[in-house]
């Protein structure tokens, strides 16, 4: 404990050097911009900006890149809330309640709680990283294929909380997402599946293309329809700052989201997208008023946004403590570390204390910077909504398209996004929920690969899936999440029924 604090003090002497404060600020600024721009996610953004770290000291380079990373995680929520346009895949969940809040004129509070939640999650998870990091990293490494499979099944079970009115339509949406995930090269065999001879499809279906198409493009089609019919309502912004009550309502969700996100983030492969979906399901399941979710519930913004940011720190854990990159973002960071002459290994803390403790300390600095940077921006961002729709909507389309295009330089991605936009427009019209498609697309690959790997290890013996206590627990949780609403409704129904029949309260 005392030793850790001493190291942290040393870290601050590095992070607070003026040049490193400047790099942290630059990283946060560029990261926020990348997060706000739809299409370019944290991993892509960091990879694109790697040239910036040439010739800088190892500590400065890492501080700059990490700033971009959590800056992008902060910024991703902005367009989700204002325009129903997920800046990166993890923000898809934020659109569910955030955009509804914006429609009710509460975009300001939604943006504020996203920034505050991200700040609390970011700060607390650095504390977690320092104190419970190493044991948690070892725990996360116990996630073999069968545990990953159990986690993915648990992930799929959260669909029931995203599905809206009809579980059948939610299932159809999820299966569609899983089908999109099966497009591309099958890694174990090298066979092409559902590519129809189109080379570009071999890399698989990009989540960002699906998120932009299904959410942003279809949103604009819906708005266009309302313009043509003359029924488009302009959003009136009622207040910019968050009220104390909103904040107090959200604190629980923020803390739960932080803990959950940090753990899920540390699990290899699960990534922050899953963390935000889990947090949303958790908040809705254990809420006293689950029916408010999807209609502008502030907890539905606070929880996932916090989980998303905590997961970003959690994902650093395997890299820093064991030298293993466990997600795309940390793989980019791994490459960057190699470039500046730091070899990630389990001995990173001993061999390069300046880099690691400088990074940890800079995360505190960066989080404070992001809060200071983001809260005043809320007022400016909210004003975006007062741009006339006839200009706002086309501009949103071009910005989403440039984001999608810059990832692969592929016109095909843009055509796919348009077609998915039409599909999403129809799905909205006929009450098919859109978020499960993204969930299926995110989980699909890992779901299939993990069960195949598990069965390869066991030689086809299905029992391997249920051997460890971790997977048993996760399967049990999946059952609870799926059936809890039915049981709860049953119990409440029995209590409510006599009341309504007799017209008086039962003693």
């Amino acid at each position: 404990m005392a030793e850790t604090l001493q190291h942290l003090g040393y870290g601050f002497t590095i992070a607070l050097q003026p040049i490193n404060v400047l790099y942290a600020f630059l990283g946060c600024l560029v990261g926020t911009l990348i997060g706000v721009l739809p299409g370019i996610g944290p991993a892509g953004g960091m990879a694109l900006l790697i040239p910036l770290i040439y010739g800088k000291s190892a500590a400065s380079a890492v501080i700059l890149l990490a700033g971009i990373y959590y800056g992008a995680m902060y910024g991703g929520s902005t367009t989700s809330i204002l325009l129903n346009l997920p800046g990166e895949a993890a923000s898809v969940v934020t659109t569910l309640d955030g955009y509804q809040m914006a429609k009710q004129g509460r975009a300001g509070p939604a943006l504020c709680i996203a920034a505050i939640g991200s700040f609390i999650a970011g700060t607390l998870s650095v504390v977690f990283l320092m104190f419970i990091g190493p044991p948690l990293a070892r725990f996360a490494l116990r996630f073999g294929p069968s545990e990953s499979f159990a986690l993915m099944v648990f992930g799929l079970s959260t669909v029931s909380s995203l599905a809206g009115s009809s579980l059948l339509k939610g299932t159809i949406s999820t299966v569609l997402g899983l089908m999109l995930a099966s497009i591309g090269l099958d890694l174990p065999t090298g066979l092409q599946r559902y590519t129809f001879g189109i080379d570009k499809l071999m890399e698989g279906f990009d989540i960002i293309v699906a998120a932009i198409g299904l959410f942003a493009v279809s949103e604009i089609f819906t708005a266009l329809e309302e313009i043509s019919a003359g029924t488009l309502e302009r959003v009136k912004v009622s207040r910019i700052w968050i009220s104390l009550r909103d904040f107090l309502d959200s604190v629980g969700a923020i803390l739960r989201g932080t803990a959950l996100g940090f753990i899920v983030g540390a699990v290899p492969g699960a990534a922050h997208v899953t963390a935000s979906f889990f947090s949303y399901a958790l908040e809705k399941r254990f809420s006293m008023h689950p029916e408010t979710f999807g209609r502008g519930e502030i907890r539905g913004v606070a929880g996932p946004e916090s989980a998303n940011n905590a997961a970003a720190s959690g994902a650093l854990l395997p890299l820093l403590t064991l030298g293993l990159p466990a997600s795309t973002v940390t793989a980019v960071l791994y490459g960057a570390l190699l470039m500046v002459g730091v070899r990630p290994s389990p001995f990173l803390f001993q061999r390069h204390p300046d880099v690691i403790w400088g990074l940890v300390a800079s995360m505190y600095v960066g989080n404070i910077m992001l809060l200071i940077l983001n809260l005043p921006l809320v007022g400016i961002f909210v004003r975006i909504l007062s741009i006339p729709p006839r200009w706002l909507l086309p501009i949103v389309l071009t910005i989403s398209f440039v984001g999608v295009y810059s990832v692969h330089n592929s016109a095909l991605d843009l055509v796919l996004a348009t077609l998915l936009g039409l599909l999403g427009y129809l799905m909205r019209k006929f009450n098919y929920p859109l978020a499960p498609v993204i969930l299926g697309l995110v989980l699909g690959d890992l779901l299939e690969q993990s069960i195949r790997q598990a069965l390869m290890i066991s030689g086809g013996e299905i029992g391997i899936l249920f051997q460890s206590s971790i997977s048993k627990l996760l399967f049990a949780l999946a059952l609870v999440v799926t059936f809890a609403p039915m049981i709860l409704r049953h119990l409440r129904g029995q209590e409510a029924l006599p009341t309504s029949q007799n017209g008086e309260k039962r003693a």
Binding site: L191, R193, W391, A411, K429
Partner: protein, 152 residues
Amino acid sequence: MTKADRVWGVVILVFGGIYLLEGIRIPPAAIGDPLGPRTFPTILGIVMAACGAYLILRPEARTAPPALQRRVFGPVLALSVLLIAYALSLAWMGYPVATCLFLLGAAWMMGERSPIRAGLIALLFSVGVHLLFTRFLNIPLPIGLLEHLGLP
């Protein structure tokens, strides 16, 4: 909603069936891989088709049918065509030119009627975003037709 659900049930059933048939055609190549590349798509195809069949047999009759009128759907289709044209022309026209034209078209479609204001906004915005990406973020975008003008 009942009729709409039936129609969509048929679409989903057919889609699931096609996906399933295409999945069965994947070679079973599975040395030491008990499930192989085929099992997962097969299951997905069956589940999708089953959902479609269920929807035909037991359509939900809860919400009012949405109006999908031609008057409303026309602009949506027109905007999709414009978007696809924008996507396909991006590489040879270059980002600034294609974006400027797209913005003019889309804004006109959405009710902008002042040519001077439209031209000014479209021009400033497309050049601005181009500079933001290529100069500030170092992300390359196609320059296309403007290359011949010898611009930096």
